[in-house]
Symmetry: C2
Subunit: 361 residues, 2 copies
């Protein structure tokens, strides 16, 4: 994989070099990154990028960006060759030594990095660039196979052996391998619910892998779930709050990706994800305490129904969101505590897991 | 410890019960929680609560809060006895079954929980109440001794064995034990810098424990560092951005706690913490790229100089903040990349660690 990316960079650079030798204006092809250049196909399972391209030809007007793009490709080459990493922020600071090609502000270098990512048709992590933020914790029936960064020796990390703690997903997960006999992955919105399930070793009872997303999952967390689910052919069940944010931001981003990162959804979506709960119907079935929806919630529901290709594709989601609209309330995962702190373990999750076929798509 | 808290709850409850039997109005004593009831003493090392108390006597006007306080004490007793946990949010939902003593909104139940915490003079975690959020990751020369939540068997978690990943600090850390021969703890602001040091196994070179705080450290993270540093008699060096937020929010909160949580600073402060950098002087010495301070930054500096008892106590901090004010710029940890991605490992940290006595207090 690494070598393929390296070769790709060298090839693009060589094309530029050869054009220059022939005294022709060199150019770089970039896919157009915008919603007008994506489609949603349930079979593919994510917002897929279409064929539209923009060309960046070397002219007086583009010379700086052109040079910066080549420099960024060079930095990526260096990172891959030296097995090193750089955050977006660090890459920006490295450019302070690029003289005239120096970036004035980070948004500029971020854009060029996104361009290189799209040009190579890989995700940033494969270029050696890592996100600033991390997130995502694991407990349960999983052995993560990493390697010692120094000796390159294999390291087996047993996620049943963390007691009340957990394994924290690294920023780059491309090199990890997995061993498990778990039946499914349970992706959880809040750290508090995760801690409850860990405390009571729910992963043992249910034979599963618990993942705490801590709100909208980071790139590393999404990529980790995707790679794990693909590799081990595991279903992914998502357990979040019953509100437009839990459904439209957390779940939707995990499952199909987002609009403004269309060129990388392919790597970061988890098409096998299914929505366990909390659903608007659960609020009725389990008589959960609720909070009234606010203006901003109603707006988000309307927006999802009207503009989101994923929701528009799935009738059951339209029905669920309209039900929430009519009920005028939202409910949190923790609302299950109304029936006892561990009702979620003794009743709600076992009930639900009897019928995964009923989970929302 | 657990038994002491249990006995304390029972004793307070018994006092109420006995008063009622004698047909007298029962009362509960609570320390006053406000800045007017704290002092800063360098020897103690944190904002310490003074003796002022408020009394909550049972009257027609206080009957609901009084009942809620007793109920909350009861919930805590149950949690401790059953070795269970509850987040603030969960405790609020549990109250939905308390009939007339039900809380209408979570701020009400949070206040009562804070009251019980202050009344028992312990931290919330010792009452079985855990924070919603977690945070804090560990890599390096440390073995955390936890226990299996089910079998209670000892579990040794070796933080040198996670490859590119890390150990994620659990929400409650009271029961953890530690084994280490590291020389110091390095607490780091950003996940990106942490990942760089992990990637290059800096903890091995420097014989230390790396902790990623991810911005302002959570309660669990602060308590973990405190317990680890006390238990193993380790110095704590803090490595954050050179800006009023890194100094006045992240570092200050880690070291001495905060004003509005005075009754628990005793448990959550890390008095042994010292400020490694980035300092305003580093910006000059290492010729770091900077960003101009904004209006809000200048305001925060003024506020720290004028109102913060910790800054007022330490001349070197006043000097450093005034220097920042005059330089009119801030600098990030990542700015060190200007001299190469791993300059921080080969030059900056080794340089600095030669003279810990020069670290800001």
């Amino acid at each position: 994989m690494k070598n393929k990316v390296l070769e790709g960079i060298k090839e693009k650079a060589n094309n530029v070099y050869r054009k220059i030798l022939k005294k022709k204006a060199p150019e770089l092809d970039l896919p157009l990154r915008s919603l007008s250049n994506v489609k949603y196909d349930e079979k593919e399972g994510y917002f897929e990028i279409l064929g539209k391209k923009k060309e960046r030809t070397l002219t007086v007007g583009t010379i700086k960006t052109f040079a910066q793009t080549l420099r960024m490709m060079g930095l990526s080459k260096q990172l891959i060759e030296q097995d090193d990493i750089a955050t977006k922020r660090e890459a920006y600071y490295v450019s302070k030594n690029w003289k005239e090609a120096m970036f004035k502000a980070q948004p500029e270098s971020d854009t060029v990095m996104d361009d290189v990512e799209a040009m190579m048709m890989v995700n940033r992590e494969q270029l050696g660039f890592i996100p600033e933020e991390k997130g995502g914790e694991i407990a349960g029936k999983l052995i993560v196979v990493d390697r010692d960064p120094e000796t390159k020796k294999e390291l087996k990390i047993d996620c049943t052996k963390f007691g009340s703690g957990a394994y924290s997903i690294p920023i780059s997960v491309e090199h990890l391998k997995f061993e498990t006999n778990a039946k499914f992955i349970l992706a959880i919105e809040t750290a508090g619910m995760f801690q409850r399930l860990v405390k009571h070793k729910y992963w043992k009872k249910a034979n599963c892998i618990l993942i705490s997303m801590g709100g909208v999952p980071t790139r590393a967390c999404r990529r980790f779930i995707r790679r794990l689910a693909d590799d081990q052919k595991l279903p992914v069940y998502v357990f979040v709050d019953d509100d437009p944010y839990g459904i439209g931001s957390i779940y939707r981003t995990l499952k199909v990706g987002s609009g403004n990162a269309a060129h990388i959804n392919k790597y970061f979506c988890v098409p096998q994800a299914r929505f366990l709960g909390v659903t608007p119907q659960d609020v009725i079935d389990y008589k959960l305490p609720t909070h009234p929806l606010k203006e901003v919630d109603f707006k988000k529901i309307k927006d999802l129904l009207k503009n989101d290709p994923f929701i528009q594709h799935h009738k059951p989601w339209q029905k669920a969101l309209k039900q929430m609209q009519q009920m005028k309330v939202r409910a949190e995962q923790q609302a299950l505590c109304r029936w006892g702190l561990n009702y979620v373990i003794t009743k709600y999750l076992p009930d639900k897991l009897k019928h995964p076929e009923k989970f929302l798509p």
